[in-house]
Symmetry: C2
Subunit: 389 residues, 2 copies
């Protein structure tokens, strides 16, 4: 596939890009990154961005222009990649298995990084003794909390919290704190509900930390976050750090939750019109779910955005045009149900941009970003992404 | 990421694999490939397999053990890859744009391959003159037919059929035939309905070919296919070739349609248990939508399989256990709604396999297959996949 790669590398403007292609708007990215960094500063907490969305050292360098800071990762492959680029303080925010814990500690041993682990059971805590012995590294460990019935974690008042903490210590590992993720906040859509979810996440996490401290565990880190709660928390007393990932790019789901405007969304897929069915009001493009992902996160929101909102080649929204259906390499553009608009003229060969339901999922379908800025057709850079586990 | 890659390459058995990992059962693959090859032979048509599912030269070599044969591709990147591996007869089964047509013809010029194009409009036909002039290659062209209102294509009795054919010839391109895809057959679930859909696809395609022949176009190739109709067509008079892709691996959607059994499904994702919420009946694993895809193709079928059916490490189905929810790197296993079963014991560290809703989508989330055979833990080979456009 040499020639394709070369063609992409050579592209100086977006009209020279092969479609479908992933675009990243640098100005929007910088604005989004700045916005949450300022919030964290005002709230007096460390921001530990989650790299699961961007998966790119170039994006990370924009977030940390001076030197590598504290980050969150979703795979051991990410931990390895960012350790290779000088990051030393990482939280692997997925419950550990004995194997993933050993892989993480090997990275620590080799690079001097501190990859913190996550667990919520005595079985996992007990496994740490072998992890420590095998790798020669003392694991740093968070206990995962469940603040909203979203996924894993212990409730702050679960008696197992203390039991797990004791077993972590007994296994010779270092208990560094508690960690929560208010994942249910993605389902909210009013400022009041988001403020309440953020406060619930805060109070649950702080309560657990206090219980641990009352029993002799220092619990220095109190970590929480989700993109919605990070943007709506009014105070963060007792919290030491905030985690968020999708905030760098934003997407239609976050727009539906009320965290960003459409104009904040920093990634899109460039696509080409390949046909039409005027009798059905359809325009066909060469971006299907392979390029957009199968994510339909707005399906249960007030405004269903189909497989994405359609913009013209410069990124200006085509009002009420969405990707209504997607097969592997085909997208069908149509006017949103109930709209009075009619489909604009989009002859074969026309290029459009499609905004994501879910930025993490759309970006994962691509190997690199073509970096642009606003309506300019110029491609400023090509930034690689990593994948795999 | 060297060490990860090495760890994977070194894996001789599935317990040495990093999870999540994509497994491919060679025995099932061979059986599925054999089954449709025999059908095509009996029906007297050429089988032109679609490589969009497997995207792997190793899988293609299994389908064509003697020498490269006729294939279908879904991206120009696939055309380039398979041309580089000696394939000469390819159909790019996505409507052409002027740019994709030129890229395809460049491959033909460089390798001597014949990459056939697809179109359904006079605009596309007119663009062929420039494609021919710029690349020095005479494009071979199919007219796309619409037999079931699924996507693109002209109805067989649309007067534009003849107009498009004339414009293809006028542009100096070669009209090689007509092509249909009964995509709506994925929504069916009874043998009678599938037989009817297959006959409808056949008769529509043959009718269009006859119209073209009556007006002096030879129309040598009459191409149709979808995995369901390919397996249910009772006769294929007038048809010259059959296309199908997902039949090599099969999946839960095809099982729901009634084309395969669960035991025919050749790919799965190996995952590790990382936690549990006994009070909710949940077991958490390290395979979320990043490994499984967001595809929920069974959601509208009679039996909703969630994000996939769960098997033990050897591939034996755990009755009524499905992946009920998925986030980026987390899957939640639960007992299917309405089942009387209870969740089996699955301690942290246990390995399981997850069968796909949609094989094309699950496989696309991975860079390689670990090839196994049945219940044996041995990994016979590592087969790379390609991606991109």
């Amino acid at each position: 596939m040499e020639p394709n790669v070369k063609a992409r590398e050579a592209a100086k403007t977006i009209d020279a890009l092969i479609t479908p292609s992933l675009l990243l708007d640098r100005g929007r990215l910088e604005r989004n990154v700045q916005r949450l960094a300022e919030r964290a500063r005002k709230l007096g907490v460390v921001l530990r961005p989650h790299m699961k969305t961007a998966k790119s050292i170039d994006v990370a360098r924009g977030v940390f222009p001076r030197e590598p800071g504290a980050i969150t990762v979703s795979t051991i492959a990410e931990a390895e990649y960012f350790a290779g680029h000088g990051f030393r303080d990482m939280t692997y925010a997925v419950g550990m298995s004995p194997v993933s814990a050993k892989r993480a500690m090997e990275i620590c041993r080799r690079t001097g990084a501190d990859v913190k682990l996550l667990l919520d059971s005595v079985e996992q805590a007990d496994a740490l003794a072998d992890v420590r012995e095998t790798t020669g590294v003392t694991p740093s460990v968070f206990i995962e909390l469940d603040c909203d019935d979203h996924r894993g974690g212990l409730k702050p008042d679960d008696p197992r919290l203390l039991e797990v903490a004791e077993r972590v210590v007994a296994a010779g590992a270092k208990l560094v704190g508690v960690l929560a993720h208010a994942g249910e906040s993605y389902g909210l859509s009013t400022p009041d509900a988001l403020v309440e979810a953020a406060e619930n996440e805060r109070s649950a996490t702080v309560r657990a930390a206090e219980t641990l401290r009352a029993h002799g565990h220092a619990c220095p880190i109190v970590s929480l976050g989700s993109t919605p709660t990070a943007h709506f928390a009014q105070k963060l007393e007792g919290v030491t750090e905030l985690r968020a990932g999708v905030y760098m790019f934003f997407d239609l789901v976050q727009h539906g939750v009320g965290v960003c405007t459409i104009d904040d969304i920093a990634i899109s897929v460039l696509a080409t019109v390949i046909g039409a069915k005027p009798e059905k009001g359809w325009v066909l493009v060469d971006a299907g779910w392979m390029a957009l992902s199968r994510d339909r996160g707005t399906a249960n929101q007030q405004l269903d955005q189909g497989y994405g909102v359609v913009c013209d080649e410069k990124g200006r929204v085509l009002e009420d045009v969405v990707v209504s259906q997607a097969s592997q390499e085909h997208g069908i553009l149509a006017i949103r149900n109930g709209s009075g608009k009619s489909m604009p003229e989009l002859p074969v060969g026309t290029r459009i941009r499609i905004l994501p339901n879910h930025a993490c999922a759309m970006a994962a379908q691509h190997d690199f970003y073509s970096v642009i800025n606003g309506e300019s057709p110029e491609i400023e850079a090509r930034w690689e992404r990593i994948r795999g586990w």
